[in-house]
């Protein structure tokens, strides 16, 4: 059993499926996530695959300042992700609203009010290396010994 568990842990830590959701960003952070996919940073070499289907995902990257239409939809989307799962806030916007968090704007942040956030990557936008290291840092703590910790 422990051998099977070891094998599961090994596979889980090396095959991370990521979905990303834009809850109202300026596309700056989206471009940095895109740069992660490109050959320069190449997240696939670490076993991270990007989907846009939450049912296939392990990690949800939340990008952007929380806008009113997402208040209902983001928890619904989070519920669709099968456990074990984790959410990472990319950039300042999900953390604080960044420059949009001013009077006369519709920012209902932080995102951590709506779904549990495992890690926050500050920056406007964060560098691809920072996004990459956050995903790699969160993955083992969330996915290792998942069955053992649950029971």
């Amino acid at each position: 059993m422990s051998l099977l568990q070891d094998a599961k842990n090994w596979v889980r830590s090396r095959s991370i499926h990521v979905a990303y959701v834009d809850v109202g960003s300026c596309n700056g952070c989206d471009i940095e996530i895109l740069a992660c996919l490109a050959p320069r940073y190449d997240i696939e070499q670490y076993g991270i695959y990007v989907h846009n289907n939450p049912r296939e995902a392990d990690i949800l990257l939340v990008v952007g300042a929380m806008t009113p239409p997402w208040v209902e939809r983001l928890p619904a989307l989070w519920a669709k992700i099968p456990a074990p799962k984790a959410a990472i806030a990319i950039g300042n916007c999900p953390v604080s609203g960044c420059v949009y968090n001013r009077r006369e704007t519709y920012i209902l942040g932080p995102v951590a009010k709506y779904i549990p956030i495992a890690a926050e990557v500050p920056g406007c936008p964060p560098r691809p290396t920072e996004i990459l290291s956050a995903v790699l840092a969160v993955a083992p703590t969330v996915f290792r010994d998942y069955e053992v910790n649950r029971s």
Binding site: N92, V95, C98, C124, R127
Partner: protein, 202 residues
């Protein structure tokens, strides 16, 4: 043709090639020192002039705090944009980030700023929070307590005869502490900042 098949087999069955094909990874990427990082403190002494707070475009990104008798700016991650404007604007060179200070010295750039305090008297409820929170007021009249009343006419603004009165607008340093302290968002500090190049600072 047979020869070329053999050539390909020979070429691709080399150990180093197979190893590189299966285990190729990007070399660890290091952030170069010239990238604008979160501003870090230099050894220079902060005079709490609040220029960094004035220039900062992100709400809540920088604070100037007094700790153990000395003042120093504090950068809040999750709010800071790493734009480096505070580094460039600081007249004392308290902050450093990337090559900003070096460029500033080479290009002799500086900022000149003027401020205008706008109060919406329809929403202002004369609580005096702006006057009490103002760090310049605090230096002019340390006795000013809640209500924002003061006998001192050297303060920037005070509540006098039941009305918010701006007395010395030219003393404003543009730190926008009052904007954050106002419960009704009635006060606004308009900043007109001019970037200068090749002009002696001051």
């Amino acid at each position: 043709m047979v020869q070329s098949i053999f050539w390909y087999l020979k070429e691709f069955l080399r150990g180093p090639w197979i190893h590189a094909f299966l285990f190729a990874k990007t070399a660890p990427l290091v952030t170069p020192s010239y990238f604008r990082e979160y501003p870090s403190l230099t050894e220079k002494e902060c005079t709490h002039c609040f220029t960094c707070r004035m220039i900062c475009p992100a709400p809540g990104a920088i604070e100037v705090l007094q700790e153990g008798g000395t003042w120093h700016p504090v950068i809040h991650r999750g709010h800071c944009l790493r734009c480096g404007l505070c580094v460039e604007a600081c007249p004392e060179g308290v902050l450093a980030s990337g090559r900003i200070l070096q460029w500033q010295e080479e290009d002799r750039t500086s900022f000149a700023a003027t401020f205008h305090i706008q109060v919406d008297h329809a929403t202002c409820m004369r609580c005096g929070n702006c006057c009490v929170s103002c760090p310049v007021n605090k230096e002019q009249d340390p006795q000013m307590a809640s209500g924002g009343h003061s006998a001192n006419n050297e303060v920037i603004m005070k509540i006098s005869s039941g009305r918010h009165t701006v007395i010395h607008e030219e003393r404003c340093v543009g730190c926008r502490t009052c904007e954050g302290a106002c419960p009704n968002s009635a006060i606004r500090v308009a900043r007109v900042v001019e970037g200068l190049q090749g002009v002696a600072e001051g």
